[in-house]
């Protein structure tokens, strides 16, 4: 019987010991959570007109503060909260990435000068689409400011998710991260029915996947008598013979996590949600959820299930291969750019999985690099999409992008850069990332998986480059969208992501050094 059970089961003989918590090590989480609570109070007590500036100050201030603490924490390597939270190199690296991307996402969500009606969000999400109430709210220039607490709660959840060292904390974090995102997905100002449908689907399927996760966690608890990742790992190495309960537990846990990273066959929500959600939210969640979910997946696999590598590897091989191929192939026939990028993100998840399956420190490092590179490129991509518009809002149909290179050469060039990076062309961050995961996979002997990966990336290059061709080698039609000049918010986010895409492609060494120093997960 494990110590935890003993303390609960015994008739309160053992005295309660106070948990030791290193508050500074989890300060980034506390800062964001505190800011989120304050942000809710602002919604309650500050008058309608004054909320936006106050919320912006809270959001930007708290993220920057959390980032500063994260940087100050570098080199930390400890487990706190009675084994619940692990603050180690990979955690801090992902915290940093999540906070920076979160900040860029917040900037995109703050943009107000692109849409003549206001920002990207419905003035009152509860008003019926097309109703008179809705028109009234729009006319009076109401702004939805609840998005800011949602953003902060989601980020808090992600920070906990990548740091959680036991399955229960991980589950709570999963919910804290997901619920605000479900709501954010349903708040688009335009095409509201599509957006609400997306939110509902995301919620239903997300809840479904959470159930899988929880069921898997229960199975593993049943096997080992603990929810701690380390304790599960120890029990696994102690009782090697016992079979199916562990296998079922691992499998269900994987289903929950693979849903979040959008791996085939748990990917089908992705296109609908990416298309329906307000574009700044799509960019934010495409980038951050990928980091958070892969962070948790990596920790579970490397810390808890490392000893069972031979059991879960074959399954992940097949899933990685399927994810790369289905994502790449289906993306080819998409006509909506957001849907296309959704399938692209599925394919990219497959490429990252190739690094994950390597199950080596090199695999971990390559997956981390890929995640950071992918996150920057992705948020930049969606930033461009918010700017390409016609009379009815964002022009997401690909035919409206024809000849954009002639109308707006700079924006088209930046978008081409992102496409080339996603396709993995040298001198962009995407190339270094792909090279890293493939090299790691070859090192671990998964050569055939790399061959599948190379084939998939060739297929993927086709649809990425097709957008460039469309922008530059077609003539503008009367339907061609035009690019709206954004305010400083979007400009900063876009510039930062473009600079990082090039910087990580030409001089990847500094980030590789940081990742090398970050080392592996603490046990």
């Amino acid at each position: 019987m494990s110590p935890l059970l003993a303390s609960v089961g015994a008739e309160t003989e053992t005295a309660f010991t106070m948990p030791s918590i290193n508050y500074y090590a989890i300060a980034p989480i506390l800062i964001l959570f505190g800011a989120a609570v304050v942000s809710v109070l602002v919604e309650a007590f500050v008058p309608q007109r004054g909320r936006r500036p106050v919320q912006l100050v809270i959001v930007v201030g708290s993220i920057v503060a959390a980032l500063a603490v994260t940087i100050d924490l570098r080199g930390t390597r400890l487990v706190t909260g009675e084994g619940a939270i692990a603050v180690d190199g990979p955690t801090l690296l992902m915290w940093g990435a999540l906070l920076v991307i979160g900040l860029l996402g917040a900037l995109l969500m703050a943009e107000r000068s692109i849409d003549p009606l206001g920002d990207a969000f419905a003035p009152r999400a509860s008003a019926l689409p097309g109703s008179e109430d809705e028109q009234e709210f729009t006319r009076r220039g109401f702004l939805q400011t609840e998005v800011w607490p949602f953003l902060l709660f989601a980020l808090t959840g992600m920070l906990v998710f990548v740091a959680s060292n036991d399955l229960l904390v991980m589950f709570v974090a999963l919910e804290v991260m997901s619920l605000p995102l479900y709501l954010l997905a349903g708040m688009a100002r335009r095409r509201r029915l599509l957006s609400q449908e997306a939110a509902l689907k995301y919620f239903l399927l997300g809840a479904f996947s959470s159930a899988f996760f929880l069921y898997g966690a229960a199975m593993l608890y049943g096997f080992s008598g603990s929810v701690s990742l380390v304790a599960i790992s120890d029990t696994l190495s102690a009782k090697t013979g016992e079979g199916s309960l562990v296998a079922i537990g691992i499998a269900l846990l994987m289903v929950g996590l693979l849903f979040k990273v959008a791996a085939v066959p748990f990917h089908q929500w992705t296109p609908d949600v990416y298309q329906g959600a307000p574009t700044p939210v799509t960019g934010f969640m495409a980038a951050t959820v990928k980091i958070a979910a892969f962070g948790a997946l990596l920790r579970v696999l490397y810390v808890s299930l490392g000893g069972l590598r031979w059991d879960w590897e074959p399954m992940l091989w097949i899933i990685a291969a399927l994810t790369m191929l289905v994502g790449s192939v289906v993306a080819i026939t998409q006509t909506d750019i957001k849907r296309m990028l959704a399938y692209s993100s599925i394919a990219q998840a497959g490429f990252i999985l190739v690094g994950v399956v390597a199950a080596s420190p090199q695999g971990l490092a390559s997956a981390l690099f890929y995640l950071v590179a992918y996150a920057f490129t992705t948020i930049g991509t969606f930033a461009v999409i918010t700017m390409v518009r016609d009379a009815s809002g964002e022009a997401t149909h690909l035919s409206k992008w024809a000849g954009l290179g002639k109308k707006s050469p700079v924006v088209a060039a930046v978008f081409s850069l992102f496409m080339l990076s996603l396709a993995g062309i040298p001198l962009t961050s995407g190339f270094v990332g792909k090279f890293g995961v493939f090299a790691a996979a070859i090192d671990s002997g998964n050569t055939w998986l790399v061959i599948v990966g190379v084939v998939a990336s060739v297929i993927a290059a086709f649809f990425y480059v097709r957008v460039i061709v469309l922008m530059y080698f077609s003539d503008p039609t009367p339907d061609t969208a035009s690019v709206v000049i954004p305010s400083a918010f979007t400009t900063i986010a876009l510039t930062a992501s473009a600079v990082m895409t090039i910087a990580l492609g030409v001089f990847p060494q500094w980030l590789l050094d940081i990742i090398t120093q970050a080392g592996v997960f603490i046990r």
Binding site: L205, F212, Q268, I319, V454, I459, A461, V469, F473
Partner: protein, 631 residues
């Protein structure tokens, strides 16, 4: 054994060779319309400066003893992960030296020519920007000291080529041609990236020094695999069978582009790759033999296409394919062939650039018409173009003392040393070359005028004819100069190796045979096109002519083998995603019948089928893990 010299003195400026055109490209492409006035001139200057720098380096290099002519310059560590290291580092040796000179000097001449050719184009600074970008990428390709950096240059020239083929993007055919070139090149690139990975796995390094030092320790099977993958890459870039189809469409680009990229430099990158990797091909015999076969097959494909096309540029493109076939075949011969492959590459680079620029000059005077059936009798009105084109014509056929004679006959002679069959085939190829080049020459410059009504041919301006004259002089003397004065075999020997073989027939005999074949080709062409009038409408022709006009159905083959399967797989998957999964749900719903009838109305569209596929996936994942664990 060659030793690695640190890059000191003038060689510390190796990076500048690349940086100059790269900076030019950056200024022109970022500067936009503001640079329209002085941009083209800047483009010419950067490349010319690189050319001058290259010549200075050559003179300096000749001071050193042959073993001390390899210079290595490491700028910084580019990628360094775990055991994998690739530096931003350049290597200048005898082989890259000749390439640097070819690229910068021919490049500079073509830049000058473009000043005239593109003078009326609205976007000419963009054109010069792309050209500069190409020169920079090509220099990276030949100066890299490891395969990864070479790959960067490899992709860079591909990009520049793509941009330039599609330069006149308002023509749908140009846009389509650009896309086609890009897609087919990607197939070759798969070979390249797999080859690099395989090298890393086998040798633990991707630098030239590292790989070649231990190449003979790997198993022959591995080396053959690497060799064949490299050959696949070379086939894509150099338009060799079976990836040749894009080169003909690439002629949609402006003519200076065809001359620089699709005749003189980029398409010869495949030859460079094989010659550079000689340490691998020396051991990988199966791969080397495949190289020869691919080369010889392409010699004929190109020549046959060149014989049937009425479009002067496409005919020249077929000829380029065929000539590169000679080089690839020579490179496949091993140490007896590498130096001659490079030798022919150099002479071909010069005379083919001259021929293309000549064709451009003709088109310039003929309102951009490319149909040779509407040419004829141009020798009177375009005297400079006529004479310089004649120099290229004699050179490519291998008439002494023009350059092509020396290089091509060395290849044919070397081929006999390997097998009589290869030699005979290459001699027949030379005969066909004589036929199609004479056909082109007669249809364009001799015979009767068949011009369209509103065409008034005139000689091109000085800025275009001066490069023509310089290239014609090169076509005449370069072969002799390199062979007798430059001692090309001994110059390249330290890098690619050279050994004279035993030939079953004497040098005189092989020369006599090939001249006889060429003479026959010329005679046939003379009888068909000079003695008889050339009809304006193309005659129906035999099945071979028609097949050749259709580029020997290369497009159809690619379509069936690659395009259709990819397209239909994609279509099928979409159909399955939309219909298959839902269909299954609907099907099972029919069994449950009326019970679900009421509930179904309240379900949101597709969420249930997503959930079902999640359950299905979960079941499979569970089963997989349980089974693996049980076994």
């Amino acid at each position: 054994m060659t030793e690695l010299m640190p890059a000191e003195g003038v060689f510390s400026l190796i990076w500048l060779l690349i940086a100059l055109p790269l900076a030019g490209a950056a200024v022109l492409l970022v500067g936009g319309r503001r640079t329209n006035a002085w941009g083209p001139l800047l483009g010419v200057l950067t490349v010319s400066a690189s050319a001058v720098l290259g010549i200075v380096m050559l003179l300096q290099m000749m001071q050193n003893s042959p073993e001390q002519r390899t210079f290595d310059q490491t700028l910084f560590s580019w990628v360094f992960v775990g055991g994998f290291q690739a530096d931003m580092a350049f290597q200048l040796d005898q082989l890259s030296m000749v390439f640097v000179l070819l690229i910068t000097i021919v490049g500079a001449l073509i830049h000058v020519y473009s000043l005239g050719y593109m003078s009326h184009d609205r976007d000419k600074r963009k054109f010069f920007g792309y050209l500069n970008l190409f020169v920079a990428a090509m220099l990276i390709l030949v100066l890299a000291n490891n395969y990864l950096l070479l790959y960067v240059g490899w992709e860079g020239v591909g990009l520049a080529s793509y941009l330039l083929i599609g330069f006149w993007q308002h023509k749908p055919s140009a846009a389509a041609a650009a896309k086609k070139a890009f897609v087919i090149n990607r197939i070759g690139d798969v070979g390249m990236s797999l080859a690099i990975m395989l090298m890393f796995v086998t040798f633990g390094t991707v630098s030239f020094q590292g790989v070649f030092g231990v190449a003979d320790q790997a198993s022959e099977g591995t080396l053959n695999a690497i060799g064949l993958l490299l050959l696949l890459a070379a086939c894509g870039k150099s338009a060799q069978f079976p990836l040749q189809a894009w080169l003909l469409d690439a002629m949609e680009g402006p003519t200076p582009v065809s001359a620089l990229i699709h005749a003189a430099t980029m398409v010869t990158a495949g030859v460079y790759l094989i010659a550079r990797s000689n340490a691998i091909f020396d051991v990988a015999t199966v791969a080397a033999t495949t190289v020869v076969v691919v080369g010889v097959v392409t010699v004929f494909i190109g020549a046959i296409i060149g014989s049937a096309k009425d479009d002067i540029k496409k005919s020249l493109a077929g000829s380029t394919m065929s000539q590169i076939g000679y080089m690839i075949a020579a490179a496949g011969l091993g140490p007896i062939g590498y130096v001659f492959a490079i030798f022919h590459l150099l002479t071909h680079g010069v005379f083919k650039a001259g021929l293309f620029l000549g064709a451009g000059s003709v088109m310039h005077g003929m309102n951009d018409n490319v149909d040779m059936r509407r040419y004829g009798a141009l020798r009177k009105v375009m005297i400079v173009t006529y004479v310089t084109f004649a120099a290229g014509w004699l050179s490519i056929m291998g008439i002494p003392p023009f350059s092509g004679f020396f290089s091509k006959d060395e290849i044919i002679h070397a081929a006999f040393e390997q097998s009589v069959l290869t030699g005979v085939l290459l001699i027949i190829g030379a005969g066909v070359t004589g036929f199609y080049m004479t056909r082109m020459f007669i249809m364009t410059f001799l015979g009767k005028a068949r011009w369209e009504d509103d065409v008034h041919p005139h000689e091109s301006p000085k800025v275009m004819t001066v490069p023509l004259v310089l290239l014609a002089i090169g076509s005449l003397f370069l072969g002799m100069a390199l062979l007798y004065w430059g001692n090309i075999e001994t110059w390249l020997e330290p890098v690619v190796g050279y050994e004279a073989g035993e030939s079953p027939i004497s040098t005189t005999a092989s020369i006599a045979l090939s001249l006889l074949a060429v003479g026959l080709g010329v005679l046939v062409a003379y009888l068909m096109y000079q003695r008889r009038a050339v009809p304006i409408e193309a005659p129906h022709g035999s099945w071979l002519t028609r097949a050749a006009r259709n580029e020997l159905y290369g497009n159809e083959v690619n379509d069936v083998l690659v395009v259709q399967p990819t397209y239909y797989t994609s279509r099928w998957l979409v159909w399955f995603d939309n219909k298959g999964v839902d269909g299954f749900v609907n099907g099972s719903a029919a069994f449950v019948g009326g019970l679900s009838g009421r509930m179904r109305r309240y379900q949101t569209g597709f969420a249930r089928s997503y959930a079902l596929s999640m359950v299905g996936g979960a079941v499979l994942v569970v089963l997989a893990l349980v089974l693996v664990r049980a076994s």
